[in-house]
Amino acid sequence: MSDEMLLRAAIAAVSNTIAAHADELSELDAAIGDGDHGANMKRGFDAVAAETDLIAGKPLPEALKAIGTKLVMTVGGASGPLYGTLFMALGKELAQAPDDRAGALRKAVDAVAARGKSTIGQKTMLDVLYPVADAVAAPRPIEEIVALAHASAEATRERLAIRGRASFLGERSIGHVDPGARSSALIVEAVAGVVR
């Protein structure tokens, strides 16, 4: 599949899954945050999908940077800069080393960690993205990576939030899946379905 076809399919798949799960993401966020994660993510990926023709016509690194910038400008919550940084950094790394996609993913996840001043194990999207980046580098089969993404998101349920508004709840953050981890797993599954 050409990069352009891949981009078109991936943008559609990700924006569709975010739209389909927007209420669920907001409900997860309402339990431990401010309840707008689903609406914010939907606004961001709807804006990306609306510019599919413009974005998919660009070379892959430029397209990824355009997706990231669009998310930064439209999401309206902390997830905007965090997901925006993921895609912008992925584009930047792929421009420098087009053949090392696993390495680019790992560096992009590091950039998200730096943006959020967080690390793995703090009940965030990083709890999904780091295991996924490792599995892509290994490399593991796609089905296994998708299963790992969902299991990693589910595992945030028992963790204590240390970053973000959920950290205000202290111990009461335990028992709820992190909405950012859940949206990350959904995005991984959607992209995996396209590259499979």
């Binding site: 707008d36 914010n40 930064v72 905007g80 940084t85 959020g116």
Partner: protein, 129 residues
Amino acid sequence: MKNVGIVIVSHSPLVAQGAADMVRQMVGDEVPLAWCGGNPEGGLGTSVRQIIDAIERAWSDRGVAILVDLGGAETNSEMAIEMLEGDRAAKVVVCNAPVVEGALMAATEASGGASLADVRATAEELSPA
């Protein structure tokens, strides 16, 4: 040269505007001041575009100090700083301070002609180390 500018960023436009009103009352027009609040659709949240615009409105060549309320306001402000044109990013800081008290302390310090570093330090005295 103009005094250091102050930008107030809250999830709520009402909070941001109210804090800015209090700052104006303290320092009048001696300090470039701008505020923004609300997500790109007008709900509670913050918008990188609006933060960039607010930094431009409060611009001073001596720098701009941003006061924020909660996590997303901080992350979006840091993103906005990186997206500024030219070498402006080096002259803008996000203060680790409560938004209302921090804005008042920072603006009062700025009105006396203090440097960006001093303005930030004064606001951050409000936060436990």
